[in-house]
């Protein structure tokens, strides 16, 4: 009896602790999204002013105009390419971090990995503008090595966006892989080797499958970040690229067609959540398989 009263008191206290956060998130995260959802169905007049009527015309326009459809595919494609490159580069980086022979080297790798997370995205994007510009460092180096005769045009296209994205988002892919690599039981590797498997076979059949959850977690983060950022594409890709976050930005800030921006935002949100949902499903299945 006394025990259950005590437990009741504790749980009441915990609910009290949770409530400010619940109120805050309700007011400034959930309600804004509900309002944005409602806004996406509003109709607009000839001068982008809101009309009191509702329809699905914004969605119909986005999903049937070839330019917008191309934009949607391009957005998914760029996010996909960024995710794949990040995962490919993340694995050796994570491997080095986990297997670094000394503590100092390990700490150094960690600092290199975390410091980009702590440096504003504007600054990192600026770095790529300076490096990739016509008179930038990369062109200078290539020219002084006589690999090229004329400066290459490396900015203002989607390749520049992918390069900058990979650098910005790579830590999000590396850290979960590091965690899952660190969790792999060393005895499993020894067991595999003592049964006669080579190092490559051991890696492929034992270590790699155990790190797939880390890769999926990283992929979820990188994909959603790459599909939803607009700062980097705006600065190194140029304003005219077919990229959904850019279109949303323009509809909101330049065309002032708020319902259109809202409808595009909802489509983007749904697409990102579908991809994350699929990856989440794969993750669950894989973990079930691993742990029986």
């Amino acid at each position: 009896m006394a025990k259950s009263i005590k437990r009741g008191k504790a749980s009441l206290f915990q609910w009290l602790m949770l409530s400010p956060t619940l109120v805050f998130l309700l007011l400034f995260l959930l309600i804004p999204f509900i309002l944005l959802f409602v806004l996406s169905f509003r109709e607009v007049g000839d001068f982008s002013q809101l009309l009191p009527t509702y329809s699905i015309s914004q969605y119909a326009e986005v999903l049937t105009t070839p330019l917008y459809v191309k934009t949607i595919w391009m957005t998914l494609w760029i996010a996909f390419v960024t995710t794949v490159i990040c995962l490919l580069l993340a694995y050796p980086a994570a491997y080095l971090l986990v297997r670094a022979p000394s503590r100092g080297l390990r700490a150094f790798f960690y600092i290199v990995l975390i410091s980009p997370l702590l440096t504003s995205v504007v600054i990192r994007t600026f770095a790529w503008i300076v490096l990739l510009a016509q008179n930038g460092l990369v062109n200078d180096v290539l020219e002084s090595l006589h690999l090229i005769n004329e400066p290459l045009q490396m900015l203002w296209n989607m390749n520049a966006v992918v390069i900058a994205y990979v650098q910005v988002m790579l830590p999000f892919a590396v850290l979960p892989i590091v965690t899952s690599l660190g969790d792999v039981d060393g005895n499993l590797r020894k067991a595999s080797m003592s049964m006669g498997a080579g190092r490559f076979q051991t890696f492929w059949k034992v270590t790699f499958p155990l790190t797939i959850p880390g890769m999926i977690t990283g992929a979820m983060l990188v994909f959603s970040l790459a599909a939803g950022s607009y700062i980097t594409p705006l600065l190194v890709g140029g304003r005219l690229q077919p990229f959904l976050p850019l279109s949303i930005y323009q509809q909101m800030m330049q065309v002032y067609n708020l319902p259109m921006a809202a409808a595009m935002a909802m489509i983007l949100l749904v697409l990102v959540f579908i991809v994350i949902g699929i990856l989440g499903g794969v993750l669950k299945r894989w973990e079930a398989r691993m742990h029986g």
């Binding site: 602790m17 050796p92 702590l118 959603s224 705006l234």
Partner: protein, 269 residues
């Protein structure tokens, strides 16, 4: 250690993995480092290696009222955002770790969702609401926007500390007659302090560098350092931004040192 190294022959495969890995770290580190170091160049455009040493561009930043005002805004904002976010994030992570109720997992996912929601979507949702309320461009709008972005980091770092802590210590305290509030204050809080400090550092750094939401909801009087940098880069670039980059590097190094001294870098994520 030495013996296992000897036993393990250094194969070609190892060589490839190490070479790729090192290239990846160079790729991560070099761009920002190059940019920050060329801030000391005396030339009117960024060069590397710098052709000389000069603090000219730092002077430009600190003499220019627009830059110093933006810096002030960013610092004021960070000083408001960090304690508020830490307060909300810590209480929420504590309650989530202890409470058992249906939908707890969903609530946790909801709290971490600002990391996954496309930033442009979050930005326009907040802009729309703040405009309707007449708050757009105010400091309050920026505070709320930054809190939403920084909040998940605090929840994560504090959750890590919560899961590393032995819940029996709380039970012991309660069985000795302390109420839940006293137990939280005297037992739980000191034990999860490293997570709270790491969360505070992440929150401060996130707020200092935040741009995606700020660009939408800031106004002429609430321009922050990243927003001003963004506008500046769009029109022109000169080494003033390199000097700003150096400032950001310094902030991130300070943050790294604080994290290492308190919770240890490897435990952060």
């Amino acid at each position: 250690m030495a013996r296992s190294m000897k036993k393990r022959r250094f194969s070609t495969l190892d060589g490839i993995v190490w070479a790729t890995g090192i290239l990846v770290y160079v790729f991560l580190l070099l761009p920002v480092l190059v940019i920050a170091l060329s801030a000391f160049s005396p030339t009117p455009y960024p060069t590397f290696p710098p052709s000389g040493f000069s603090l000219h561009w730092f002077g430009e930043v600190f003499r220019n009222e627009a830059w110093t005002a933006a810096l002030m805004n960013s610092i004021v904002l960070l000083l408001i955002v960090t304690p508020l976010t830490v307060l909300l994030g810590t209480t929420a992570a504590y309650a989530l770790a202890r409470l058992r109720f249906p939908g707890r997992g969903a609530l946790q996912a909801f709290m971490l969702s600002p990391l996954m929601i496309p930033q442009v979507v979050l930005g326009i949702a907040l802009l729309y609401v703040f405009t309707s309320l007449g708050w757009s461009g105010s400091l309050g709008a920026l505070v709320i926007g930054h809190m939403i972005i920084a909040f998940p980091y605090v929840v994560r770092t504090v959750s890590v500390s919560m899961s590393n802590m032995n819940p029996r210590l709380e039970l012991a305290s309660q069985s000795l007659g302390a109420g839940p509030a006293e137990t939280f204050y005297k037992i739980t809080l000191p034990l999860i302090k490293p997570g709270i400090i790491a969360g505070a550092v992440f929150s401060a750094v996130t707020s200092f560098g935040e741009i995606s939401i700020s660009l939408f909801v800031s106004g002429p009087s609430t321009v922050t350092i990243p927003v001003r940098t963004f506008g500046y880069i769009e029109q022109t670039f000169d080494p003033t931004v390199n000097a700003i980059s150096f400032l950001f590097i310094v902030v991130s190094i300070v943050a790294l040192i604080i994290i290492e001294k308190t919770i240890g870098l490897t435990k952060v994520m």
